[in-house]
Symmetry: C3
Subunit: 260 residues, 3 copies
Amino acid sequence: MRAPEKSLSHELPGLAADVLERLRARSPRVHCITNNVAQAFTANILLAAGAIPTMTLAPDEVASFIAGSEALLINLGTFDAERREAIDIALVTALDERVPWVLDPVFIERSEARARYARELVAKKPRAVRLNATEFAALGGSAADARTLADYARGNLTVIGLTGEADLVGDGARFTTIHNGHPFMARVTAMGCAASALTAACHAIEADAYVATAAALILLGVAGEVAGARARGPGSFAVEILDAVHGLDRATITRHARVT
Amino acid sequence: MRAPEKSLSHELPGLAADVLERLRARSPRVHCITNNVAQAFTANILLAAGAIPTMTLAPDEVASFIAGSEALLINLGTFDAERREAIDIALVTALDERVPWVLDPVFIERSEARARYARELVAKKPRAVRLNATEFAALGGSAADARTLADYARGNLTVIGLTGEADLVGDGARFTTIHNGHPFMARVTAMGCAASALTAACHAIEADAYVATAAALILLGVAGEVAGARARGPGSFAVEILDAVHGLDRATITRHARVT
Amino acid sequence: MRAPEKSLSHELPGLAADVLERLRARSPRVHCITNNVAQAFTANILLAAGAIPTMTLAPDEVASFIAGSEALLINLGTFDAERREAIDIALVTALDERVPWVLDPVFIERSEARARYARELVAKKPRAVRLNATEFAALGGSAADARTLADYARGNLTVIGLTGEADLVGDGARFTTIHNGHPFMARVTAMGCAASALTAACHAIEADAYVATAAALILLGVAGEVAGARARGPGSFAVEILDAVHGLDRATITRHARVT
């Protein structure tokens, strides 16, 4: 099967700006089943972008929260019995109510039980999977390149958003590379988790899963560059990126975005 | 029943400054049963104000922690079996040891189970309930106005602290409106939870529940304005409000407080 | 038994700089069983120093995570059934795999059950115990002085790192006092927990437990002074100390360290 062609790369920065405008106009509710470490920063990234986060895990509540949400994030960073029960209920509700959901298979390379569970979740067809190269390998991807992403995405009917020095987004047919971001993004806990939550938020208001995923990574990557120019270290960077997400506008996005 | 009259509005800024001075002098221990998302920011707001937070939920410890505390916060933002068990034990101890407690019925409009549980807790007579207009409606308040607050507070023998663009405080007989705060307060996760925790801290050193509740909301509202003048976005705002709470003094409070 | 002599005090700042360089070069994986309140700040301190934090508690995963780690922190700040089970598994793995571990007996003075459990853990010979004077008293230390620390450390075959206005480190034979730090360190939640996590990280790359413990407290103390000079309050201090840990170099450490 031939490698996918670059798609929409010139249009994506403008589309990302469109997505952000709709996100602010509609303030979608995004339910996050995520790890304890990431909860507060994830909530703050979503609030800075204009979304409304909720995070409950209680079995008798999670269905009601998801039924009232426009998107769902499932992040495996805390992988306990409570969350596995919440995820089971959440996915039934998300399917019934047609709530788009995004998977973040955190640290699955460190635990075979977690990797197996992540593969089961991929089989339930998330709209997108946001992960890094090590996690993609543990999921079954043989290399972090365009062709492997395309094969994996096509085979699993999903979109892959693989973040790293450059971010790769592919849905099988289409593929793009985003060259934004800043090294401090790897020095702040939960930055990847927040990227996944923002991806879920973009799926709430954009039906094309490829565009929604690329838009989220462009928005966070550009915000990361704005923040990196102001920060003295990872502490101030974590603060500045929240301000930068809040302050993003079309001019900043189209000026900074480097998408090929 | 006639609407309550405005009470103490001119005195409240000075009383808030008194409360803050006593809070710093006595460093009350405030036990918080609160949600995972809010724990760190809540602890930091209490530390910035001069209180000592604890947050354990373990059934075999919570009674011992509360018996050694001067105030208790019960926040329903994480509504799981562990916290419900902790709350049951906590309220028995708080009653036995006469520890004042404050209820924050987070997101009860999103889950009927949570709303029902919140109504049961109100029947156990918290000194104050801190919430927003949507949560007040879910609790049974028909409108967020002076008369409705007064009726609800009188009927339930508590004080209502309803935060929003303006904050309303009423205990049935007395009523006041606080016009401080900043729009970024709605863009930082756990800001309402922190307001409730500060309310609990004020109850630790002020026996008049109406004054304690109004004082907490004046202190946080003024700190929010100081922070808002310095912040570029919600990230720096969350940092600045901690600095502002720490730096509050009588002159700043009385200059900025707008209480009618 | 005579009091221990001051040891290595002049060499310790240079040794701390050596430890930091190795920490950055090797990026050790540090698994933290810690409390919910502290998780995010702890992870960010470790990332700022160059280590890789993980925090899972799930019984079927914790052994696998610890087997892949170079150090382990056990912090009792959240003392629930889940963590007690995780700790049992963690200590078996740490012993089998010879992973050094550090104990932080948070708030044991507030709960006899927790203090008893902490004493059982000390009997399992952590490489170091990081605590404050109140916690040391609850553990059985009669006074926070050189002789008591030495007796306790010798009797329990561990190193004590006792933080406060000055930090004391002793292993029975050797003893030192670190005069760095800043008053805002007591006004930011999880600062002590982060000190313990950094202590664990230093044990990952330094076999002499006395040197590793002193190095961690020197590094955080110096970073605290750098941060304190820039901060306006505890909010900005928490941000600045992350930047300062990230920016530490040999010149800053040896210029600021006051070790006697």
